[in-house]
C-alpha cells in the first residue's frame, strides 16, 4: 500500500489519535505546572528541601517509561489502564524540568534586585509575584517547553496501557512485521507535535524574557490570560468528551496487543453492534493488562487462551489435556474473578515448532520426534518469551532430547519466521495460527509427546455483563466452534501479510458465517 493510499483510508484515525495524544500531553502538562511551580517556589525558599526533592524528581525521570507504566498499573486509585494512568506517568516525567527551572529561575534573579525589592518594603508575596516570578518566567517557560516535548514522546508509550494516542499506530506497526506506514502514521504526527510545541513555546518564552522584550505589562497579562483560558477550554472539552464517550457504551470490548486478538475482538464488537448494542473498543492492551482491566470492570470481555489463563494468570503447572485445562479455568475464573469463560472458539493458538516446508518434505518429517535426530546440525531461533518460560525452550529441549549445533538465537518473535524462511535458522517456535506459516511455506511439526499445553481460544466476559446483556451471551455462544486453525491463519494473514483493514476483514468473515448458516 502506498503512503498516499494509507493516508486516504486512515486520516480519520490519525486525526483522532493525534487529538487523544494532544489531550494527554496538555492534561499532563497542566497538572505538572500546577504541582511543579508551587513546589519550585517552595524549594527556592527552603534550602534544606531542595536537594532531596530534586533528587526524587530526578530518579523519577530516569525510570524507563515502559517500566514506570508497568509499576503504576497495579496501584489502587492512580493505577489501572487508560488515560488516567498515562497522565500520571506523564506528570511524573514532566515535573522535573518544571520544578528545576522554577527553582533555577527564581534563584537566578539578580541579588541586587531582590535586595532592593525587600528594602523597598515589599512583602514576601509581593517580591514573589511582582519580581521573582515575572523575572523567572522565561526560565520557567523553558522548563515547560522541555516538559511538553518529553511528554509528546513519552505519550506514545501510553498506548501500551490502553490510553490511546499516536503510540497505537507505532505499536501496531511494530507488531505487524514493522509496517512502515503504520509506524510513520504514529511517529510523524508526534514529531510534528513536538516541533510545533517547541516552536510555539519558544516564541512565548522570548516574549517573556524581561531582558529582550518590550511587551508592556497589560499585554503580558493578556497573553498569560489567553494561554490559561485556552488550556482550560481544551481540558474541559477533553474531559467532557471522555465522560461522554464512557457513558455512551453498553459493552466495553478489550483485546490483547496482537493481531489475532484484535481480529477476534473486532468480530465480537461488530456482532454486538449488529444486535443494537453500543460498543466501546479498548483494544491492544499489552501483557496481562486485559486481564486486570476485566477484573477491575474497565472492560467487559476479551478473547483469551486457556493455556495462558491456566499458567500465567492462575499460576498452575502446565498440563496437556485441553478438556481438563478448560474445565479448571472455567471453574476458577467464576469463583475468583466473577468471569464467565465462553465455549471454545474451535482453534488453538499453541506453540508451533516450525521448519521449512521444503525440508519437511525432503526429510519426510511429520512430528517433532522425527526431526530430533537432525537438530544436531541445525540452528534454532526463538522469541524472548519462549526462551524464558518454563514451558518454553528448556522443558521442550529436554522432553524431546534435542541438542542444537549452537545455542539458539534469541530474537523478536516476528523476525523468527523470516529468519527461518531465509535459511538463517532451521527451526523456530511460532504461533500455530500465524498467517506467515502458509505465506512463507513453513511446516508445523506435530507435538507427538504432548509437551505444549493447549491454548484454546475462548471469550472471557464478566458475569454481570453477560447477565445484563443477553445479546452478549448469545454472541459468545454463536462463536462456539466457529473458527478452525486454518481459518484463523488466513484471517491473520489478511491483516499482517496483505495489510488489509481489520474492520473489513472482520466484516467479511461475519458475512460469510451468516450466509453459510442460513
Amino acid at each position: 500500500m502506498t503512503a498516499f493510499e494509507f493516508l486516504k483510508s486512515n486520516w480519520r484515525e490519525i486525526l483522532s489519535l493525534s487529538w487523544d495524544h494532544l489531550l494527554l500531553v496538555i492534561g499532563a502538562t497542566a497538572i505538572a505546572i500546577a504541582i511543579g511551580i508551587p513546589v519550585g517556589i517552595l524549594l527556592s525558599r527552603r534550602k534544606s528541601l531542595r536537594a532531596p526533592v530534586l533528587a526524587v524528581a530526578n530518579v523519577m525521570q530516569t525510570v524507563p517509561s515502559l517500566a514506570l507504566f508497568g509499576l503504576l498499573i497495579p496501584l489502587p486509585f492512580i493505577g489501572g489502564i487508560g488515560a488516567r494512568t498515562a497522565i500520571i506517568a506523564l506528570v511524573l516525567y514532566a515535573l522535573l524540568p518544571i520544578i528545576r527551572n522554577t527553582v533555577t529561575g527564581i534563584l537566578g534573579v539578580d541579588r541586587n534586585v531582590r535586595e532592593a525589592a525587600l528594602a523597598m518594603g515589599m512583602t514576601d508575596g509581593q517580591v514573589l509575584w511582582q519580581v521573582e516570578l515575572p523575572l523567572a518566567a522565561s526560565v520557567i517557560l523553558t522548563g515547560v517547553r522541555v516538559a511538553v516535548v518529553i511528554s509528546v514522546g513519552v505519550a506514545t508509550i501510553a498506548a501500551a496501557v490502553g490510553a490511546g494516542g499516536l503510540g497505537m499506530f507505532i505499536f501496531r506497526g511494530l507488531r505487524q512485521n514493522n509496517d512502515i506506514n503504520l509506524i510513520l502514521a504514529g511517529a510523524v504526527p508526534a514529531a510534528l507535535m513536538a516541533i510545533a510545541a517547541d516552536f510555539a513555546l519558544g516564541l512565548l518564552e522570548k516574549r517573556f524574557d524581561a531582558n529582550s522584550s518590550r511587551l508592556s505589562q497589560p499585554k503580558r497579562r493578556l497573553l498569560i490570560g489567553l494561554a490559561a483560558a485556552s488550556l482550560l477550554l481544551l481540558l474541559a472539552f477533553g474531559g467532557y468528551k471522555a465522560l461522554h464517550a464512557r457513558r455512551a457504551a453498553d459493552v466495553v470490548v478489550g483485546s490483547k496487543d496482537f493481531t489475532e486478538s484484535v481480529i477476534l475482538s473486532e468480530i465480537l464488537s461488530q456482532m454486538l453492534e449488529a444486535k443494537g448494542l453500543r460498543v466501546e473498543r479498548r483494544f491492544e492492551l499489552g501483557g496481562t493488562l486485559s486481564h486486570q482491566a476485566l477484573v477491575a470492570g474497565e472492560i467487559d470481555c476479551y478473547p483469551e487462551y486457556t493455556g495462558t489463563a491456566y499458567t500465567a494468570i492462575l499460576r498452575h503447572q502446565a498440563i496437556t489435556d485441553p478438556a481438563v485445562v478448560y474445565e479448571q479455568v472455567k471453574r476458577e475464573y467464576a469463583e475468583k474473578f466473577g468471569v464467565e469463560v465462553g465455549p471454545p472458539l474451535g482453534y488453538s493458538n499453541d506453540f508451533a515448532i516450525l521448519v521449512r516446508g521444503e525440508v519437511a518434505r525432503r526429510l519426510k518429517l511429520k512430528t517433532i520426534s522425527d526431526a530430533a535426530p537432525y537438530t544436531r546440525e541445525w540452528r534454532a531461533g526463538f522469541g524472548q518469551d519462549f526462551m524464558s518460560r518454563a514451558d518454553g525452550y528448556a522443558g521442550f529441549a529436554s522432553a524431546y532430547g534435542l541438542a542444537f549445533n549452537e545455542r539458539p538465537r534469541e530474537m523478536d518473535l516476528s523476525l523468527t519466521y523470516r529468519a527461518l524462511a531465509s535459511e538463517q535458522v532451521d527451526l523456530i517456535a511460532g504461533n500455530s495460527t500465524d498467517g506467515l506459516i502458509a505465506a512463507l511455506d513453513l511446516f508445523q511439526l506435530e507435538d507427538d509427546r504432548h509437551f505444549f499445553p493447549p491454548y484454546q481460544a475462548v471469550i472471557l466476559a464478566r458475569t454481570v455483563a453477560v447477565t445484563r446483556w443477553p445479546a452478549l451471551a448469545d454472541t459468545i455462544a454463536r462463536l462456539n466452534n466457529a473458527l478452525t486453525t486454518e481459518e484463523m491463519r488466513r484471517l491473520n494473514y489478511e491483516v499482517d501479510g496483505r495489510k488489509r483493514d481489520i474492520k473489513q476483514v472482520a466484516r467479511e468473515w461475519i458475512e460469510k458465517i451468516v450466509t453459510s448458516s442460513k
Binding site: 541586587n112 535586595e115 525589592a117 525587600l118 523597598m120 518594603g121 515589599m122
Partner: protein, 265 residues
C-alpha cells in the same frame, strides 16, 4: 508619622553587635552611634569592615544579635519590617532596578505599594525625575537596560526618595560608575541631600567621596567604630587609619577639601 521631639536622634545604635554562626569574630562589635536629623553620616572603611551590615541593621534587613538599634526612638525589632522599610529610602550599587519595570514604574514602586492614587503617583514620578536631572518625557517609558550606568543610579535615587522617607540609606551608590559620572553624581547628591534636608547614612570606601558628601565621617575597621568626626577634623586626625586614608590623597587636594568644607559651615 507623628513628629517626635527634634532633639531625639533619628537612628541610634546602642552597644550593637552582629555575629553569624561559623565566624569567630563578630561582624560588628559593641557599636554605639547616633545619627542626628538632617545630617549626612558617611561610614567609611575597607570591604568587610561591617559598614554594609550596619546599614542593613537600620532597615531591619538584619536584626542585631546583641544590643538595640532605635529608629525614631523605637527598636527595629519592635518595628513592623515592611512599614519601617517603606519610610526608609535605600540605594545600592548597580541600583537594583527592576529590569521588567519601566523607569516610571520603578520610581513609582513604593508609592504604589502604599496605595497612592494614580494621579498623585504620576505627578510625583515626574517631579522626582526632574529632581534627579532626567527629562520625564524622554525617560519615563524606558526600561533600565536602555539607560547608562549613571542614569540608572539617578533612577535608583529617585526611587528611594519617592515616598518622602525621612531617612535615606545608600550603600556605595556610585561605586560602579566611571570617575567623571561618579564625581558629577556625588556633587549633585550632596547638594540634593542638603536641599531636601534628609537624614542620610552613606556607606563608601572612597575617602574623597566621604569628604565630599559627609557632615560627619565614621571610620570603621573590623566591626568597630574607630573615629567619628566632621570632615574638617577628619582631615587633620592623628588616628592612624584616618591618616592612612588621607595619605592616598595628594597634599594640595587635601587642603582644598579642608577649605571647601570649612567654607560651607
Amino acid at each position: 508619622m507623628s513628629q517626635p521631639p527634634t532633639d531625639q536622634p533619628l537612628v541610634e545604635f546602642r552597644q550593637v553587635s552582629y555575629s553569624v554562626s561559623g565566624l569567630s569574630e563578630p561582624i560588628i562589635s559593641r557599636l554605639d552611634l547616633s545619627i542626628e536629623r538632617g545630617e549626612t553620616l558617611v561610614l567609611l572603611g575597607e570591604s568587610g569592615c561591617g559598614k554594609t551590615t550596619t546599614l542593613r541593621l537600620v532597615n531591619r534587613l538584619l536584626l542585631p544579635t546583641e544590643g538595640v538599634v532605635l529608629v525614631e526612638g523605637k527598636a527595629t525589632s519592635a518595628w513592623d519590617a515592611i512599614s519601617l522599610r517603606r519610610r526608609t529610602g535605600y540605594v545600592i550599587q548597580e541600583a537594583g532596578l527592576f529590569p521588567h519595570f519601566t523607569v516610571e514604574r520603578n520610581v513609582a514602586l513604593v508609592p504604589s505599594l502604599e496605595g497612592w492614587n494614580q494621579e498623585r503617583i504620576n505627578e510625583r514620578v515626574r517631579e522626582l525625575l526632574r529632581l534627579v536631572g532626567l527629562n520625564p518625557e524622554t525617560f519615563a517609558g524606558r526600561y533600565p537596560r536602555e539607560l547608562s550606568g549613571g542614569q540608572r543610579q539617578r533612577i535608583g535615587v529617585a526611587r528611594a526618595l519617592a515616598a518622602e522617607p525621612p531617612l535615606l540609606l545608600l550603600d556605595e551608590p556610585f561605586g560602579a560608575l566611571d570617575p567623571l559620572t561618579r564625581a558629577e553624581l556625588q556633587k549633585e547628591f550632596a547638594a540634593l541631600a542638603r536641599r531636601l534636608s534628609k537624614t542620610v547614612i552613606f556607606v563608601t570606601h572612597d575617602v574623597r567621596e566621604a569628604l565630599l558628601v559627609a557632615t560627619r565621617i565614621g571610620l570603621m575597621h573590623k566591626g568597630r567604630l574607630l573615629l567619628l568626626e566632621t570632615p574638617a577634623n577628619f582631615v587633620n586626625s592623628e588616628e592612624q587609619h584616618a591618616r592612612a586614608y588621607m595619605e592616598t590623597i595628594r597634599f594640595d587636594e587635601r587642603k582644598l577639601f579642608a577649605q571647601t568644607r570649612e567654607s560651607e559651615r
